[in-house]
Symmetry: C2
Subunit: 427 residues, 2 copies
């Protein structure tokens, strides 16, 4: 099948997947876990082919590291699969049950979205994770993996196809693999067949996808996160949180990129921070007020809009809570932003008016993720303003449908006044 | 201000609106209702200017009728405003409260989306309705009305501006009016400032907007709704439902456009239907099987994809429930589709596998609307697969934000095993 045929087949399959019970979906995911173990040596051999090719093509160390599969990584995937299998069925949850009339019952019930388009780079384990989440939530998926992981992806995809074929023919066509670079453009144009795109990869990949499709995209391009140290902050706490937010794992989207410090405490806290950051090797870039207090590279306007993903931190001294919030709403990426303060009033204003998917008080920005939030599974982190925001669990792959069951009811009777709506919630 | 400045101002205003309490929002809406009454003669005089201009410009009867404001229509708007004012506050609803650790509490709380772009044609009352819904939900809005309603829109917009200025300066800039045709293109390109577009108008307007913006669009272009008469249908019920679905108000999106009839009952039900439709003046277009049973214009493939919005009905005879569902999922608009059947099994399959925002059993498609569903207010009807689907109430103007409140918590402590997550739901 070409890409269009695959997309059409996935769409057709999606209608049937919506009616599958949880037992069947769980059985597939557990069978995948079983086959992963059985085919471990095959997976590693196929992965080696990708690694050999990667070496001849001089790919970057970072990409190479992501590409490597090991026995331990396979065990990790198997554990994750078993966890996904055990999640409660997200489909069929009734959130509204309303009697419109004695014999006319409305239900709002969770259903799969339909067809999810996944574009991921390098990491073959992403294929396993997202495919299992799609199956659990009853969605069909079109998977576009990186060419650099072609052999690994095919081996893993084959396990899903075989497991699904074993368990139930309704799964036929529900996972599609596309491989060539040209397929991306085609996929992005298929808004008749693909209901949601989830890019898994670099900011550039996400931005490219967001700019080149009419299909809704779940994700975030930038993670420009802030910590604001208020005039009423506990200064030791402020230093601890700031060090954790920058240094605990600087390469990820929820690491802090810009520190805002209230002028009243800048003289005390900035030297303490500089001392704490120095042994970690953090490069500090400060506005002029900061540079008058500690040694820092003078920051430019570009720094406020930059996600370093590295041991670099921009620092700005602000006159007020309001100025801090303005800075965050203007220059940030609406991802995750924190205040350190003992003032309940300041914290309440911050929580209410910072337009971020996660607004935090007295803790590190690094907490903003699906595992730490206890979501059970993480589909991704979203800075969208509709559908799903922040760390997104399985609920991001669901929408709802209204079901209305009557007994021959017609609108004419209600328009004429012969019958009246009761509108009584029965749930 | 030019359109870009207006959009930026609305975005800035939106951050502050998010923190407004319900009492203040309700006060504004009630003040608007009061001013509507006070300024009734002014509104009618301004509306007359639009009507006079419309006459010289020969606009269509339909548009002219929509443009007319009367004392009764103003009273209707005032009643609607009071209803919106009394709705429960949709902002600040906590749907998840989870202890991540003893001193680290996560909340998922409903918040306004931000800035809503509204593009509406003719009807000046749309401005009043959608503006009040935006205020109630704490959203800023950019309103683009039709040029044909310019004077009416300005008069109504002025009431909102004056009411907001009276009650609280935080409302400054939160509603913006743009007027020229060129503003539409500019508005559609402002994905940095506008978070959601809601078109209120013709299918062509909706399609144009969907095809020309990266901003998410809430709405539906087509309403191609079906009724399927199953082999196990009560035939009298089938006729009643089919007549209501087509004739009760044919010009709207939830009216039936295509009737599907199971072959086993076609010989009985089609003649009865033809008799019922004849006095209503419904033109029937049938596939070849239909034309062998009743007199009908031969239908072409185009008929299955056409929203007539008129007293025209296409009819197709199908061999099975599955064929009916396939037809609906292939040719329909995923809006509202109904089955008439006494078989619980057939109804269950239909409800589960018809990919429609409203799936109905034994009742008319005309029930699919916000008032009849008891939503309190209707923002629009959506055939989107994410965020909001079907008749959309105030919840369509909301998203959520995570709030995490700690006591100096850092991720390093959890990564090292010094501390452990408890993940205990406390709501």
């Amino acid at each position: 099948m070409n890409t269009l045929e695959k997309a059409k087949a996935a769409k057709q399959a999606s209608f049937k997947l919506a009616s599958l019970d949880d037992k069947t979906k769980t059985a597939v995911i557990l069978r995948v876990a079983g086959l992963m173990k059985e085919r471990e040596s095959f997976i590693l051999a196929e992965n080696q082919k990708d690694l050999d090719k990667a070496k001849t093509e001089n790919i970057s160390d970072v990409l190479y590291k992501r590409l490597v599969l090991t026995s331990e990584k396979i065990d990790g995937m198997i554990t994750s699969l078993k966890e996904v299998a055990q999640l409660p069925d997200p489909v069929g949850h009734v959130s509204v049950r309303r009697e419109l009339d004695d014999d006319l019952i409305l239900e709002k019930v969770s259903v799969p979205i339909g067809v999810i388009g996944i574009i991921f780079e390098s990491r073959p384990d992403a294929l396993v994770q997202i495919s299992s989440l799609c199956i659990k939530s009853g969605n069909a998926a079109i998977l576009k993996g990186g060419r650099e992981a072609q052999f690994s992806n095919r081996a893993l995809y084959g396990i899903f196809v075989d497991a699904m074929a074993e368990i139930n023919s309704l799964f036929n066509n529900c996972l599609q693999l596309v491989e060539s670079r040209e397929d991306i453009g085609e996929l992005l144009s298929m808004d008749d067949y693909v209901d949601l795109m989830i890019p898994r990869g670099s900011n550039d990949l996400v931005k490219y996808i967001q700019s080149n499709t009419r299909i809704p995209v779940l994700g975030h391009a930038d993670g420009i996160c802030h910590v604001y140290i208020d005039k009423d902050a506990d200064l030791e706490m402020a230093v601890n949180v700031s060090v954790d937010a920058k240094c605990q794992y600087p390469a990820v989207c929820n690491a802090m990129e810009t520190l805002l410090v209230h002028r009243d405490v800048a003289g005390d806290v900035l030297p303490a921070l500089a001392d704490a950051y120095a042994p970690k090797g953090v490069e500090l870039r400060g506005d002029s007020a900061t540079c008058q207090i500690i040694r820092a590279v003078p920051a430019t306007d570009a720094d406020w809009k930059t996600e370093y993903n590295d041991l670099i931190l921009s620092i700005r001294v602000v006159e007020s809570l309001e100025e801090a919030i303005d800075h965050i709403n203007t220059f940030g990426s609406h991802h995750t932003d924190a205040i350190v303060s003992k003032s309940a009033h300041a914290c309440a204003i911050f929580l209410a008016t910072v337009d971020s998917s996660s607004a935090l008080v007295n803790c590190s920005t690094r907490f903003a993720d699906g595992f730490r939030y206890g979501l059970g599974a993480e589909v991704g982190i979203s800075t969208n303003k509709i559908h799903a925001r922040g760390p997104v669990g399985l609920e991001g792959l669901l929408i709802y449908k209204y079901r209305l069951v009557g007994n021959g009811n017609i609108v004419s009777d209600y328009a004429s006044g012969n019958r009246k709506f009761t509108h009584r919630d029965v749930l």
